[in-house]
Symmetry: none
Subunit: 253 residues, 2 copies
């Protein structure tokens, strides 16, 4: 284990510029709806190159704070969000009513080696060891399962298997807790799919009917793939709902 604290001395210039711009937006010096100064103006203002300014504005753009249009300029769209990141409140909704809590009932826990097909599905090199936990996810009310869940856990962390059943928390938090690793990136993919006969039987739906396939991939600091969760939802039992609401500017509206 390495104990060298990776302390950052000074942030890159484009980060500083981005922070200053966010401050200015927050303080109302660049009100929502107004145009930001042009790239050239910002260059002279901050005393940096255009490349640096563009990199800074790119950050604002990625967070949805500004939009850019060629020939027009950079428009301020929203003040910087309070905490960290996107405000996407992902709500999992059931058709009859909203779901507060769900239970994962595991049916199988096996060790396996990723063959070519699985490696492709997970996005890992073939031959890697994985712990696969299969189960059905139930809502509080209703007897039918909401989803068929496969969780693949990197073989290096297979020790969590004994904590899974007992726990109500997501599996990746167990990994963070027991192994001291930190999940820094979560990639999520949602696609439609056709539910095959075997899965259809377990979910109690018609074979060949439509389903939602939601895959989450958890990456650690070193970009190591720690966990992959694959959820299959019958079309009529699940919808993925999210919303983004822009904050009203500092001025009273």
């Amino acid at each position: 284990m390495k104990s060298t604290a990776p302390l950052l001395a000074t942030p890159p210039q484009y980060v500083l510029v981005a922070q200053q711009l966010m401050d200015d937006i927050q303080a109302g010096r660049h009100p929502v709806g107004s145009l930001l100064p042009t790239e050239f103006t910002l260059c002279t203002q901050f005393g940096v190159s255009r490349h640096t300014v563009r990199e800074a504005i790119r950050r604002l753009q990625e967070r949805g704070l500004v939009t850019r249009q060629r020939g027009v300029g950079t428009t301020v769209k929203a003040p910087p969000a309070e905490s960290a990141y996107v405000q996407t409140t992902a709500v999992i909704s059931n058709l009859p009513q909203y779901v507060e809590d769900t239970r994962l009932v595991t049916s199988e826990t096996i060790d396996l080696i990723a063959d070519e097909a699985l490696a492709t599905r997970l996005g890992c090199p073939a031959g890697q060891r994985w712990l696969k936990v299969t189960g059905l996810r139930y809502t509080d009310r209703g007897e039918l399962p909401m989803a068929l869940t496969d969780v693949y856990i990197n073989g290096a962390y297979g020790g969590v298997r004994k904590h899974i059943d007992a726990s109500q928390v997501p599996i990746y938090t167990l990994l963070e807790k027991h192994y001291g690793i930190t999940i820094v990136e979560v990639q999520q993919e949602i696609r439609a799919t056709t539910i095959g006969p075997a899965d259809a039987k377990r979910l109690t739906v018609e074979p060949g009917s439509a389903g939602l396939l939601l895959t989450r991939r958890y990456l650690s600091e070193r970009n190591q793939l720690i966990e992959v969760a694959v959820n299959l939802y019958p079309a009529d039992r699940f919808a993925y709902v999210s919303s983004v609401r822009l904050q009203v500017g500092p001025e009273r509206a």
Copy 2:
């Protein structure tokens, strides 16, 4: 006024490089888990500058296909997707990006009054006037349409109809621009569905096959429903990808 040719001349070089790299990953020439050639190597291979290569790789990174590490290289993390022409969106905050990469070809524009069924689907009172724009959305690669799109625009803002074809920007930005309104909230819902015969024919897929139904509702400051966009994607032509990365340091409060 220009002749409003909605024709894309040639994609930027970094897009071409990115597409070629995705093809190479898909074909197994850059297997998952392996390192991509270095930036310098790619420069000579493609005959472009490092700037262009980095821009291309940035696109792959945003889609979660690769991760980068200083001193190590660029690691392939996942194949692009099942099918060749799968387009991915990132977080909801950079919708404009997604629109720029695709072309909407409108086939029909009609005025209508919301009956009970439509009012329920849109979430508006029955009897309200709407402008409905129907079209197919294409990617820059592949001839098959990526999606069947219905955009419902609040009747009060029907005047945008003449600007829709010419523009490459999202329709809601047109509304913001021409009517001075501000979109404050975007609600998004994703669910799986079965594609009916009529839609299947237009999308060139099997009737009864699975599709992804993505609905976005745009609300103004006074919570007025301005626009509803309904997109139907065949299962094998689209995946909704988003990624959240935690910041390393306490970059900003």
